[in-house]
Subunit: 491 residues, 2 copies
């Protein structure tokens, strides 16, 4: 299995290229589950790269869950790797700050809330799998126990009881934050808006992973900010070499990203990457707004650490919520604003004084009573299974050209079709058949990119209707590809 | 009782001056309750003004509740006018747009939430007089009845059921608004922030009544806006002649005011004034952000109309909440954005997607079950009584130089001491004695004005402790005045 030497790519560092080449061999078949990978010495010679580059590449593949190290023996392809469509390549957005155009997102988002559709569009959690009855029981209890607290304005930063419980939960993400340094918000979006408002002036540039969650783009647009979209790997997240390049220009005011199981790529940085990212931010004295709403939804093993866990200089503004894990309708999120905490607390008091008390006290009670971990175990298992079912459906019904992400947590799946595919057309044709998807352009800062991509929500219990919807989507995609092939043939 | 001819004032139109002169005669004593006022013909001759000026002045005094017309007989001083400290003169803020400085407000506001103090500072409603038990029963009911609705993101504009109930209530304020044209927010502050964000760019000028509710000033500061404070009458509200002057310059992007029982003056425009205001706004094509959180809290008669009631061109953005009438802790407000509705809905979706569902459904249920009117009757009576008690305490304990407003609704009272009085010193000295007040500078856009004024919250059931606190405040004021008198004497 000789490998041809590598050519340098402008979008990837060397060890990532090595890792991707090996991954290709795994997904294409030459390297099968259980096979031993070439030794470091051998690969180094074949590719004309350094030992450390090969080691980094192997570590990356390990992080991606594709290979496993056996002591005194070497690296082996994991037995569990599925025969799935290949992963998309790292993204390569235009490398310049851009005005934000999200004219489409608002219309599409309104449609996505339409109850009559098969909802594969909005990243909604599955209510059937959330502990609604228990939350309701607790809400009844807390409002009876303390009506005056329930109906008062409360303290400016939100319920202390809730902040204490959330601080305890943050220990699982490797973060030690005092409740006094937290502000309760109406969901994570509000927290992110406050952070942007506190850190920027209109016209400033915010570096972001690309593709990007559209609500974040909307908040940035609303505040008159420019976006600098950075190349992002579908599994490892933001490209640090590109981030460093951007930081060197001095034009980046703040970095904003979803650290774990990002939306829409589902990428999740490894700990080493997170540490390196923090070093860069420290070096260039740049704050990070970390959106970690999906972190609790890892499929296997321990919850991944937050980037905040490696923040020795108090410059990460950590934002999260219980909207994906407990209840979207309670509208409870929070922000640990580090050195910017006072500004965040002030924004909260200006905007809406406080978050509704009954939801705050309810979440505090749920976190305190010990049922959260049990609930999470259940939810993670379900979401993992649903993700696998969705991925199998893509393999079964979508054309061979499909590229698909491999999230190890969360509940969104990103699909990439060949260049020229029109996912807005797919969106419209699917709507006519009662199916909602999220077209890729919604996740593009300039409103120009990802026209051949779309996102599916996988937080849906598998039913015959979903299976049929996936089949329908597959047919629509194949039809469009066939037509464009014919047109290209005629031209 | 001959009157000397009037001299023209830069701060008031002619009929207002006439009204103020007559009011002075009523409060100073020459015109006693039951006395007949001079005939129109006689007054016209004495003051060398037109018949219509006298008629306007009499109508204004009628609006102020000071005189009453008896058919075929003339105008008489109302029997109920109390022997109270005189009203402050109309305000005369510096007549230019200013950068906003509210550095004090945040610190003071934090203090105002301190539970250990006698709270005459924050404009908090009295929880003991709110229907908390009933709200809690209803919350338990609605969340049990529809757990999925309670815990979903809901529709972007908020619960339709709630919007329908609020639309019905708005009929009482003379407004006919379709639920589709409303957005539910986390309190009125959030609604006002959305309106400002939707209508302005940083650097724009917003015309405001002066003094101004500090949270509004903070929102404007946060959005990089300039404030143009306008002279305001303690009873009739914003001076329309001054507004027109400002509109003529073309620099006013939007007008923002509390229409009924404003905070902190307690002023309330009459219907004629409201109509005239709308005419001006139409003439100069300028939008109005109307904050009507206190409108339901009139002491007597029917609820005053909203300015929106006279809005024939759909340019008023109406903002209100249930924080003053039902529960601050539920955080439920709304905005009827008229022609700007779509922009408001969009801001809501960007910022926090939706307001927590359980509070929304609870308020909807309360408004639907018919208990709101009964509750309001009770609350209005209590607040009226508490306002009168507070005013009596001012008369009894404060020095003769005190000027005091005469709100006919709401629950704030504005006190003005002689020029040179330092209400920040009073604030600090009162805090040392466990009493919180809101110093006047918090309500000044430039942070320079109203240093001799302060605001008291009257939504406090009368107790011995409150009586003593008022006595203490009176002593502190007298002591400070005496000291400054001595100093002036020595100098």
């Amino acid at each position: 299995m000789p490998l041809t030497p590598l050519t340098l790519s402008p979008h990837q560092v060397l060890y990532e290229q090595v890792a991707d080449r090996l991954q290709q061999l795994i997904t294409d078949g030459p390297l099968k589950p259980g096979d031993r990978l070439p030794s470091v010495r051998k690969l180094r010679a074949q590719l004309s790269v350094s030992t450390s580059t090969v080691m980094e590449a192997y570590r990356l593949l390990e992080d991606r869950g594709l290979i496993v190290a056996r002591p005194q023996s070497g690296y082996y392809v994991k037995q569990t790797v599925l025969d799935l469509p290949q992963e998309p390549a790292p993204t390569a957005p235009p490398r310049q700050a851009t005005d934000i155009d999200i004219s489409l997102a608002f219309e599409v988002m309104n449609r996505m809330r339409d109850g009559g559709l098969i909802q594969l569009g909005a990243a909604l959690p599955d209510l059937e799998q959330l502990p609604l009855a228990q939350l309701n029981r607790l809400m009844g209890k807390v409002i009876r126990e303390d009506p005056n607290l329930t109906h008062s304005y409360g303290t400016l930063q939100g319920s202390y009881r809730l902040r204490s419980e959330l601080a305890k939960r943050m220990l699982d993400a490797g973060c030690s934050v005092h409740p006094d340094q937290m502000v309760i918000t109406n969901g994570a979006n509000e927290a992110i808006y406050f952070c942007l408002q506190a850190l920027t002036q209109p016209g400033d540039t915010v570096a972001i992973e690309s593709p990007t969650y559209f609500a974040t783009l909307e908040a940035m647009k609303c505040l008159g900010l420019k976006a600098l979209p950075l190349p992002t790997h579908p599994r490892d997240g933001l490209s640090l070499p590109h981030l460093e390049e951007a930081l060197q220009t001095g034009e980046v005011k703040v970095l904003l990203l979803v650290s774990n199981f990002s939306n829409p790529l589902g990428s999740c940085m490894g700990d080493r990457q997170k540490k390196r990212l923090m070093n860069l931010l420290n070096q260039y004295d740049t704050p990070l707004i970390e959106d970690d709403v999906y972190g609790d939804l890892c499929f296997e093993g321990n919850r991944p650490k937050a980037i905040k866990a490696f923040d020795t200089e108090n410059r990460v503004l950590y934002c999260a919520s219980v909207s994906k894990t407990l209840s979207p309708g309670l509208r409870v999120g929070w922000c640990a604003g580090s050195r910017y905490h006072t500004a965040i607390a002030r924004m909260k008091s200006i905007l809406n004084q406080n978050t509704a008390m009954a939801p705050q006290l309810t979440v505090a009670a749920f976190l305190a009573n010990g049922g959260y971990d049990r609930h999470l175990r259940h939810l993670r298992r379900s979401y993992h299974e649903q993700m696998l079912r969705m991925q199998q459906a893509v393999r079964d019904y979508f054309p061979a050209e499909t590229c698909m992400t491999r999230p190890s947590g969360g509940h969104v799946l990103w699909l990439e079709m060949p260049e020229g595919f029109d996912s807005m057309r797919l969106y419209r044709e699917a709507l006519e058949r009662g199916i909602a998807i999220a077209p890729g352009v919604m996740f593009s800062a300039s409103g120009q990119g990802y026209g051949n991509c779309f996102r599916l929500n996988t937080a849906v219990p598998w039913t015959e209707a979903i299976e049929q919807a996936m089949q329908t989507l597959g047919l629509l995609i194949k039809k469009q590809l066939a037509e464009s092939f014919l047109q290209a043939d005629r031209a």
